[in-house]
Amino acid sequence: MAPASASFGTVDAVRRDAEALAQRAAASGQKVCGWLGVGSPVELIDAAGLHPMELSAGDAHATPLADEYMEDLFDPVVRGVFERLLRGEFSYLSAIVLPRSGDSVHRFYYYLCELKRAGIANLPEPILFDCLQAQGAPSNNYTRDRLEEFRAKLATVSGHIAGEAELAAVMARASQRSEALQEIARHHRSGTLAAEEALATYAAARMLPHDEFLARASAVLADNAESRSRNAPRIVIAGSPHDDAGLHRTIAEAGGEVVGDFHAAGELSIGASLGRNIDALLDFYRTRWTPRSFGDPAERLLTFAREANADAVVFSFFPVEEALTWDYPAQAAALAANGIATLRLPDQARPYDPAAAAQLGAFIAKLAPRRK
């Protein structure tokens, strides 16, 4: 285990650490299973004895290899991961888990299967987690059966069939991670933890091995116990996920303070099932937030912004975002009705493009008097 550090640094630093550890695990004979998408059941990967790691797009901003096969409308994180797979940077993976809980990730599964079938690329085994999220018995029962099939597929990769006790143990570990992240989120809201550190910690929970994450997260919490709040306008970032803190830094430079990340790489990635068996896991993944989950997106964001005592919500969407943009008008209206200002930035590229800095500055300048 690497020595506990009081800072995760950046998402990219976490990624590099995580990939080095995963490569080391693979070299020592443990099978590594990459995953992508907020609906991936990491507990089952863990229970199968595989080394789980969320896959990152990393520095794959230009994606010439992926562009050969993937159309423009795919999520840039998925596209970046695809690029890195085709570059051979994930050659140490034994499998890659892709859930049905997001359209880009779901389609990516078919693309990988096809490239593998056609012998176009040497890829890890793609495994679909076919989790349905509509209410009702048909969807629930269907997913229950698929969950067992999914376990069996992972067992084929690892050669290990996890028993119920092992599953309960890894679910308890997932709850530990979730509790640590809830604490990180509280520190994020209360101003004792910088936004960039919080974002990196959320990434670390998805990428690093369990013990490594918990040790370092504890150190982060211990070292960030004092408030550093600047009494600045409190901002929540919503929309497409952020795997770098460019927007967070721009908001800080403009005089604001990011106190919440309402997106798939932020607080929406936190959560764990309450129970300790397969049915509890089923309930959790069927109802957790994903791009395909149901529920009232306006009420959800409003509750989040209120808990963060936010003055404003800044929306930032990828140009290809086709789901969350449908939620935006109702979310903006609900926030406005409750006195929370909103700003929708022009479409945001990956990595973050600071072109909107002036617009953000003017927006935050108008918020500033509200805090006095």
């Binding site: 050969e68 993937m70 159309e71 359209d103 078919y110 096809e114 048909p138 140009p319 008008p329």
Partner: protein, 432 residues
């Protein structure tokens, strides 16, 4: 340039084409009368949902994609795109699925076709992308109706020759678990419809309808083989689309079955005469994607200049390949197998590329044009892998960035010019 000036009319050679169009015009009037004037219960449904249930229960349906193309044909797509933008729905908003919502949100009976749709009994969509559940929920909320979502689960069993196997072996091709799920969902839908409309579902009636649909699709299959495999191609896309699509909206109805027969016979007669779409057919083209509903004349534009004929578009060959179902002892299961892969086989590998390559080879295709809708991931997906597969099979491919119903950025002459240059560079020069 006005929207109207951008699109051009297509030229048609079959007399049954006009009959199909006239039938649909009258049907639209009848549907309008049933839904608007008589206030009959009706449903708004996506194209890839089990229309057969509604037909069997005699409940009128308005298909979202048809309604979108109707709106586009009324030159209203630009207006409704602006309505969405004003309401804050900017970004990658799928026009093909959202123009109907926009029409409702606009709430302007003077402008809207039919004065706008009244409150339906239910809205039904299969959740094949992330946005459709949102579009339909917003639409349902605006209309005050329930939204009944059908799942689009993953599909791990990949039969690359699905188009050969699925008429008989549909249980295996589409998998028992996926069929079971859809049957349960359809049971729930039927229960809702019976409760809300007072009309009863009769499985025997559905089975009879499914048998008539088989007859219709077999006739379409014969017509398809004649159209796409014969040299010269007897009828182009402008004749194919209305003659397959309009009966498909009414599949299994006596008119639809009779029309399929009429279409097959007319095509057969042209083949017997050796009649072709152009004077001298030089290039056989494949069109991949939905129809360019705002510029049907595009398909004829290359005929004179290059002798290039669009002999293949998915709608006609798809009819027999995907809709026909043998073994109707459990008609709901057969219907579920028809629906539960409808979108996937057209837009995802390996189903899409394997079918397209197989068809290109069988039809002697010289080149292919693939529509790349810029705001619709569902429609655009699978196109690059298909392009690579076609090119590997010796078929040059041109990608055309455009929307099916939004004409805002479409320029007829520019597009025709671009395809023309492609044909010169990739097909004609190769032959010279």
């Amino acid at each position: 340039m006005s929207e109207h000036a951008k699109g051009q009319r297509s030229s048609k050679v079959l007399s049954c084409t006009a009959e199909a169009t006239l039938f649909q015009r009258n049907f639209v009037k009848e549907l309008q009368a049933r839904v608007i004037e008589n206030g009959e219960p009706f449903a708004i449904v996506q194209a890839d949902t089990p229309h057969e249930i509604f037909h069997a229960m005699d409940i009128p349906i308005v298909t979202n994609q048809w309604w979108s193309s109707y709106i586009a044909a009324k030159q209203l797509s630009t207006r409704y795109v602006e309505v969405l933008e004003k309401a804050g729905y900017t970004g990658s908003t799928c026009k093909y699925c959202s123009l109907g919502l926009a029409c409702t949100l606009d709430n302007d009976p003077k402008t809207a076709p039919w004065g706008g749709l009244p409150r339906p009994t239910v809205l039904v969509a299969r959740m094949t992308c992330d946005c459709i559940q949102r579009v339909f929920q917003l639409w349902a909320d605006a209309l005050g109706s329930p939204f009944y979502p059908l799942e689009a689960p993953g599909w791990e069993h990949k039969d690359t020759r699905w188009f050969e196997h699925n008429k008989h072996d549909w249980e295996e091709v589409y998998t028992t678990q996926r069929i079971d799920l859809m049957v349960k969902e359809m049971d729930g839908l039927i229960e809702l419809l019976e409760k809300e409309t007072g009309r009863k579902f009769d499985e025997a009636k559905l089975r009879a309808l499914m048998e008539d649909i088989n007859t219709q699709e077999e006739l379409m299959g014969e017509a398809s083989n004649l159209v796409t495999r014969t040299r010269p191609c007897p009828v182009g896309i402008a004749d194919q689309m209305p003659n397959v699509m309009i009966p498909q909206w009414h599949r299994g109805a006596p008119w639809a079955v009779n029309h399929a027969r009429k279409f097959r016979d007319e095509v057969k007669a042209r083949v017997a005469e050796g009649a072709g779409t152009v004077g001298k057919e030089k290039i056989r083209l494949m069109w991949i994607g939905a129809g360019l509903w705002h510029d049907p004349g595009f398909y004829n534009a290359l005929e004179e200049r290059h002798g290039a004929v669009f002999v293949w578009s998915m709608y006609l060959p798809f009819a027999h390949a995907k809709y026909t179902r043998y073994g109707l002892d459990q008609p709901l299961r057969a219907l579920a197998s028809r629906i539960c892969g409808m979108n996937e086989v057209l837009h995802l590998p390996p189903w899409m590329n394997e079918w397209m390559v197989s068809e290109a080879k069988a039809c002697g295709i010289d080149a292919c044009v693939i529509l790349q809708p810029e705001t619709n991931r569902l429609s655009v997906s699978g196109t690059k892998i298909t392009k690579k597969a076609l090119e590997a099979a010796g078929v040059p491919v041109f990608e055309i960035a455009a929307d099916m119903v939004d004409a805002t950025r479409w320029r007829h002459e520019d597009m025709v010019g671009a395809v023309s240059r492609f044909l010169v560079d990739r097909v004609e020069s190769r032959r010279a």
